[in-house]
């Protein structure tokens, strides 16, 4: 269940020799809320330059898994490793500084800021990392490099014309693109996307998918949680199926689609009487 990423991914960057630890590795992660177990020993890996899908029925623990990876939730047990280093105890903002970025299923844009400011903010933060905390009073001059990078990112995701629009006024599709641009502005090595296609129409989904493939080709690792399973099957090189907090199956999209356990997990087992 916890095999290393198969070398069948489209990007040469992902052909990992066994000596290189995966970019992200989750091992035996358990999350309990009171008496409920949301994640029950999930393990998975993501390599640089690959798109990995994480799918599963409602309540399978996908978003909780994301929260564990990004540090918003502490696992009850289990480890999160980043390029081989244990980061299980690291605060969320420190993980972000390592190159871990994410988007949110329920949009978490900074609504009162413009599209450009959302991205610029992330670009500025990224440049300030590790530096000393500057007193806020003198921290007012715009960072020229960050501004240029913001402009380039907005062009790349196709938001160039909307730079000055307040984020809360954006329709869903454009808001999701803004979140993506903002995440990219932190110069991540791994991008976690939580339901990026929900609320997008077909054309927008297409464009989004193309963009993700492009990004992976540039060497970015992407972990994708998505209800639109056909989309995941199309662009992911490897798919993990989460059910009741456990990894039920993993493999190439074709393998997973044929897996009877996966079909049962999604459709439910046939009624007892008919078995």
């Amino acid at each position: 269940m916890n095999d290393p990423v198969a070398p069948d991914s489209p990007s040469p960057a992902a052909v990992s020799s066994s000596a290189v630890p995966p970019l992200l590795e989750l091992s035996e992660v358990v999350v309990r809320f009171g008496g409920n177990v949301a994640v029950d020993g999930a393990s998975l890996t993501v390599d640089a330059g690959t798109i990995v899908g994480l799918i599963g029925p409602n309540g399978a623990g996908k978003t909780t898994t994301f929260n564990v990876i990004t540090g918003l939730e502490r696992p009850s047990s289990g480890r999160v490793r980043w390029a081989g280093d244990d980061i299980s105890g690291l605060a969320a903002h420190r993980r972000a500084r390592l190159g871990l970025a994410r988007t949110f299923q329920r949009l978490e844009l900074f609504g009162s800021l413009s599209v450009a400011e959302n991205v610029l903010f992330a670009a500025e933060l990224c440049r300030r990392q590790g530096g000393t905390v500057r007193p806020p009073v003198v921290d007012v001059a715009p960072d020229v490099d960050a501004v240029h990078e913001t402009a380039a990112l907005l062009e790349r995701v196709g938001l160039g014309d909307l730079a000055a629009t307040r984020a809360e006024e954006l329709p869903t599709g454009l808001a999701r693109l803004t979140e993506l641009a903002r995440a990219l502005a932190t110069r991540p090595r791994l991008l976690l996307l939580d339901e990026p296609a929900s609320g997008l129409d077909e054309r927008e989904t297409e464009r989004f998918a193309d963009l993700l493939v492009e990004l992976a080709a540039d060497g970015l690792g992407i972990l994708l949680v998505e209800h639109d399973v056909p989309l995941v099957m199309r662009i992911a090189s490897r798919v993990f199926v989460l059910d009741l907090g456990r990894i039920l199956a993993s493999g190439t999209p074709a393998e997973v689609q044929r897996d009877q356990r996966v079909i049962d997990a999604y459709l439910g087992a046939a009624p007892v009487g008919e078995v």
């Binding site: 029925p57 409602n58 309540g59 329709p171 869903t172 339901e195 929900s198 609320g199 209800h227 639109d228 399973v229 056909p230 099957m233 009741l244 074709a254 689609q257 044929r258 996966v262 079909i263 999604y266 459709l267 439910g268 087992a269 046939a270 009624p271 007892v272 009487g273 008919e274």
Partner: protein, 254 residues
């Protein structure tokens, strides 16, 4: 329609024809709904005939629970209408709808976890039945609940909680029963048992709308099944006809 809240309009054209097909007890027409700026239902049409079990299936995120939310008055639709026995009840409040026989067993947590079994049943008396009667019938349906009447609902097993939730719904003689993901987190045996009881009340004339992600668990008891995907109903038909389309709807064409 008028602004009196609940105009007694219905659709006289349909209802008064007197043809053998009875008017549906529950009907949705062109319902759209949004969470904030995100529209999640893009025009849903659905009807449930008296005494039938209709299964609403589909992958998660399709809008099934939202549809139930609109029917039960928890989320006002942005467009379209909901009819109960031919009367428009669009936007009526949950408690008012519950008072006229629309009963909802919500997803996952259908019980008050910090109340005892008995106190949970007491809440059912808001629909006009006496506590003694509620208890008698509930414990008759599920003797296990009687043994645990003084236990906090939150400390019972998932199956027992679901029994309680269902019992509370059934004992008040609802006209329309809405069930959301009854099978969530339960063993197949228990799910099967619960759905057999649902089938039984439907035979007595209760109209049931079941939302299930795990489609196969409910196909056996449904009269009609509908598949929902991305906020629309994509197909409606007999359970056997629908079953063949399920794999595609959930996992994409292989």
């Amino acid at each position: 329609m008028g602004d009196s809240g609940l105009p007694p309009v219905g659709d006289p054209g349909l209802a008064s024809v007197g043809d053998p097909v009875p008017a549906p007890v529950l009907e949705l027409r062109g319902v759209r709904a949004s969470y904030g700026r995100i529209e999640v239902l893009h025009g849903v049409d659905l009807s449930v005939a008296r005494g039938s079990v209709v299964a609403l299936l589909g992958p998660n995120g399709a809008g099934k629970t939202t549809t139930l939310g609109v029917i039960s008055g928890q989320l006002p639709p942005t467009a379209g209408d909901v009819y109960l026995a031919g009367r428009r009840v669009t936007g009526a409040a949950s408690d008012a709808l519950a008072g006229v026989g629309l009963c909802t067993v919500p997803e996952g947590r259908g019980v008050f976890r910090t109340l005892t079994v008995r106190e949970n049943l007491r809440m059912a008396t808001y629909r006009g039945v006496r506590l003694a009667e509620v208890e008698e019938r509930a414990y008759g349906l599920f003797p296990r609940l009687g043994e645990r009447r003084h236990q906090l609902a939150g400390t019972m097993s998932g199956g027992e909680q679901q029994m309680l939730s269902l019992a509370r719904a059934l004992v008040t003689d609802p006209e329309v029963l809405l069930l959301d993901e009854l099978s969530m987190g339960l063993a197949p045996m228990i799910v099967d048992d619960l759905y057999q009881r649902v089938r039984a009340v439907a035979e007595q004339g209760v109209s049931v709308l079941v939302v299930e992600q795990f489609a196969r668990t409910v196909l056996g008891v449904a009269d009609v099944a509908a598949i929902m995907s991305t906020g629309r109903i994509t197909s409606v038909g007999s359970p056997s006809a629908i079953e063949s389309e399920l794999s595609d709807a959930y996992l994409g064409a292989s």
